[in-house]
Symmetry: C2
Subunit: 221 residues, 2 copies
């Protein structure tokens, strides 16, 4: 039920997939309190997740310049429901990473995740629409309180003042932003939320630095 604990015996630490890590940051404290049964996630992923070739492709397309393509199709003004290779079961590798890595990082094989991963014309910031079913019921204000107190998370959830996470405002930030936190009224113990993080910061570089800091702090090197 608890996230895995590192020891001196752990010689290789995998830096997890960027779309998984920002979701897990939000799921983990909620799992501890309410026990997650099932997650349905749809992603809105930045081209920066692919690398410089994709950034160049989008930039070229915006400037009507011909050039090398990182994707099979144009990404400008488009949404491509295809990230990484397709697997036998009809899912992409990216989608199955969200399924497997979530269980692995939280350290609970019983958490079920189904994912649809989509590339959109955004530079720097993955967004995720996440539907979470818990074993136990929750109080929506308590959910917000738990997330506010969780490390690395900023709750942006004030719809009266149009405050919700967006890739433009998450860009160049180390935190993971969560908002649109509301009860899913179609079944018991279920929550909808919207999670955004700069995939080049928390999703990659920042997280690697944080793992190193943790190892030094805990004297695990």
């Amino acid at each position: 039920m608890n996230a895995q604990v590192l020891t001196k015996q752990d010689k290789i630490i995998a830096n997890p997939n960027c779309s998984t890590i920002q979701m897990v940051l939000v799921l983990n404290p909620l799992h501890k309190k309410y026990t997650i049964k099932r997650v349905v996630v749809s992603t809105y992923q930045s081209v920066t997740g692919t690398g410089v070739k994709a950034v160049t492709q989008l930039t070229n397309e915006r400037n009507n310049v011909e050039g090398e393509m990182a994707y099979k199709y144009k990404i400008d003004k488009n949404a491509i429901p295809h990230i990484d290779n397709f697997l036998e079961n009809g899912y992409t590798k990216e989608e199955m990473k969200m399924v497997h890595e979530t269980k692995k990082i939280i350290g609970d094989d019983s958490i079920k995740v189904t994912a649809t991963c989509v590339r959109i014309p955004v530079m720097g910031g993955h967004s995720e629409s996440v539907n979470i079913e818990f074993e136990n019921d929750f109080d929506i204000n308590e959910v917000k309180k738990i997330l506010k107190e969780a490390p690395g998370i900023v709750v942006q959830d004030d719809i009266d003042n149009f405050i919700y996470p967006m890739p433009l405002t998450a860009h160049d930030k180390d935190e993971t932003f969560v908002g649109r936190i509301r009860r899913d009224e179609t079944q018991p113990n279920t929550l909808n939320c919207w999670i955004v993080s700069d995939n080049l910061r928390k999703g990659a570089a920042t997280n690697a630095v944080q793992i190193a800091e943790y190892l030094i702090e805990k004297n695990l090197l």
Copy 2:
């Protein structure tokens, strides 16, 4: 259990919301066969759904020109989880339209829908990631066959050849495109799919014309 039938007594026919109609086109034939219990949908909506002011906003932003804003925030290189006004329950009007209009058009109050509606920098074509739980189990090839035979739907589901719906390829088309059709392995009788349609065609003008054609054909005017 059946979609509502028009009679001469129906004086006002509402042209439904653009994000709802493309989803219902796919849901309706599947509901007839397997009975839908619950739908979790996340949308990726084009700025053309807002109107000319939003198209101008996006165009201005792309050209670094100052101008009037249709949205509270920049839409270029962004994803805004906020379409239409917020309601008391924390959902937007757009999200609740998907909940209520789906039941109304299919004519079955027992269908449960939870929605997250998001604006992305696309011009002409709403996309939807849809998770559908049925009462009864399905055969995935039969699902594809039912959708292939349903009017107004084109199945684009050949991942080996990178065939799936996208707003760029749905643009200026009257049909609704569905692909990424696959079993959700986290619970029984559940399906994931990806639905795209040009919101200015099927979502509005084309649908109004089709309603008029139907009325003339059935001698209902």
